[in-house]
């Protein structure tokens, strides 16, 4: 469920920066494990706080994959897109080959809630972006669809466009491989 509250994006960022600096160094090594716990409990804001701390000391793909999802839930789309771009630029399979059950990935449930929400509309850029990101963990074709809608709604975001292109290339490669086999 989207944990986007009434605060503006900037206020959320300031609040998080404040909270970030209230942690002592000795607590940081607990962060990844605690972040994982909150993530499994679907407490995305708490998970985000812990995982950001642990990322300073451990640049792990597993942490980044979870953080991307957390950012979509707290409305920090710029952060989500940047981190997603960095990951799939290295290897798109890091996201597309997610083992949903084994990794306890919440994307399927989150997607269901958004697509069945009374507020769901294809005219909302942030919703399309969120669905594009979340679907990438589950179904690359649906992800491409939502990213294309997002690009139509906002043609000025180059990073989103780059991601869309990377996804499209991957889809085309898949289709070519399937037709050859």
């Amino acid at each position: 469920m989207l944990q986007h509250n009434a605060l503006s994006h900037r206020k959320i960022t300031i609040k998080l920066i404040y909270l970030r600096h209230s942690y002592c160094a000795s607590c940081l090594d607990m962060s990844e494990m605690l972040g994982n716990f909150y993530f499994h409990q679907r407490k995305f804001l708490s998970a985000q706080r812990q995982l950001e701390q642990s990322l300073k000391f451990n640049s792990s793909d597993s942490i980044k994959k979870k953080l991307i999802i957390c950012y979509t839930q707290s409305g920090l789309f710029n952060e989500a897109i940047k981190m997603l771009h960095d990951l799939i630029n290295r290897d798109i399979n890091l996201i597309t080959k997610t083992k949903i059950k084994e990794e306890n990935c919440p994307c399927a449930d989150l997607i269901y809630e958004i697509e069945n929400s009374p507020n769901f509309t294809r005219d909302d850029y942030e919703q399309m972006l969120m669905l594009g990101i979340l679907w990438l963990y589950c179904d690359i074709y649906k992800s491409k669809f939502y990213f294309s809608l997002a690009c139509e709604l906002n043609q000025s975001d180059n990073l989103v466009l780059k991601i869309f292109n990377m996804i499209s290339n991957c889809v085309n490669n898949n289709l070519n491989n399937n037709s050859q086999s």
Binding site: M30, E32, M33, F37, N104
Partner: protein, 438 residues
Amino acid sequence: MLKEEATTNEVLDSLAEGVFTVDNNFKINFFNEAAEKITGRSRKDVIGNFCKDIFKSELCSSKCPIATVLEKGKSVFDLESQIQNSNGDIIPIRINAALIRNKSSEPTGGVISFRDMSAYKEIKKYLEHQTQFYGIVGISKPIREIYSLITEIANTDATVFIYGETGTGKEMIADAIHSTSNRKNKKFVKVNCSVLPPQLLASELFGHSKGAFTDAIKERVGRFEFADGGTILLDEVAEMPLQMQLQLLRVIQVGTFERLGESITRKVDVRIIASTNIKLKDAIENGSFREDLFYRLNVIPIEVPPLRCRKEDIPLLVSHFLKKYSLYYKKDFSDFDNKSYEIFSQYDWPGNIRELENAIEYAVIRSKSNETICACNLPGHLKGNFKCTKVSEVSGDVSNSDLLKLLETNHWNKTKVAKELGINRSTLWRKLKSIGVE
């Protein structure tokens, strides 16, 4: 390294407590044999899965013990919860949790040990519901008078002094007084005044400040302070040194005291129950107990009768303890035979109810399930020269586990055990050797 790991696994598999570990993603990566037995799940089905998916405890979402350790930085002890086993049955458990750290002190996972509390819960439930008065068993006139008295004083905070021989149930009377009082939801602290040396007793009761004496490395809250708002039981109060009796008198009179090594006066509101098995009149006469303290404590005196003065309660007590230990040892008995009841009623019971309870536990251990317990399975000092006419349940028919329990009960005194079983000491030695026990 592999050999070390194998030895560690063997040790963990020999524990009666379930033990499992999780990685930092909360996936199970070790599951011992006891955990398999309690949960009904094999380790191969469990390893690699999230712990919340296996245990399905209400704690998983609200108060995961490992998350609690991460958040608070302290290990968790004796947390009560329940889990579902593979059949969907709810199992009450008690949990300890801690973090696993690598050589750089970074958390790499968590470890949980848990114990199946089903048997204890069942015994506790039985004990709570199958007794006459808050865990006390008895319908004789003296004991019914005590029930009435406890009921009458329920709404007061009056100091109570409980007298009685050892093993008569003074502590149970104190429990009943607290359970019926207005302070039943507050702390009930029990202190045995006879087990600690005088200086430690003072520290135990009143606390101490850091450096108050050689081993006082940090300050300590005493039992009176800890029990503030609640009740304190001073067991064997007559054993208290005279100096301490004076401090106790002050607490009773004005409710104030100082911690050892401190000059700050502290005030507490504690209801005091005292108990003793000593004849206080003699103690006052010989100067070992203060008369003024006696009068302060003796507001509501309760004299608990010895078992020999309430023999009409013996059948009820026998039934109660038989049920308790049958549950505990997972055996099933209908009753004791008539000869046993004859012995119970004729014996004087110097150790009172505690001695009766021990005798019944002994008989339950020695007897085979689904039988009436024979008098020959009673302890030797009870059955005397009685010889069983039944085909022997002793010696050769005693199972290895029962034999080991008998040895434990008798502190491994083989002479005593051999005598109980009616066999030669050398026969016992041979039997023990045959089962690999020296």
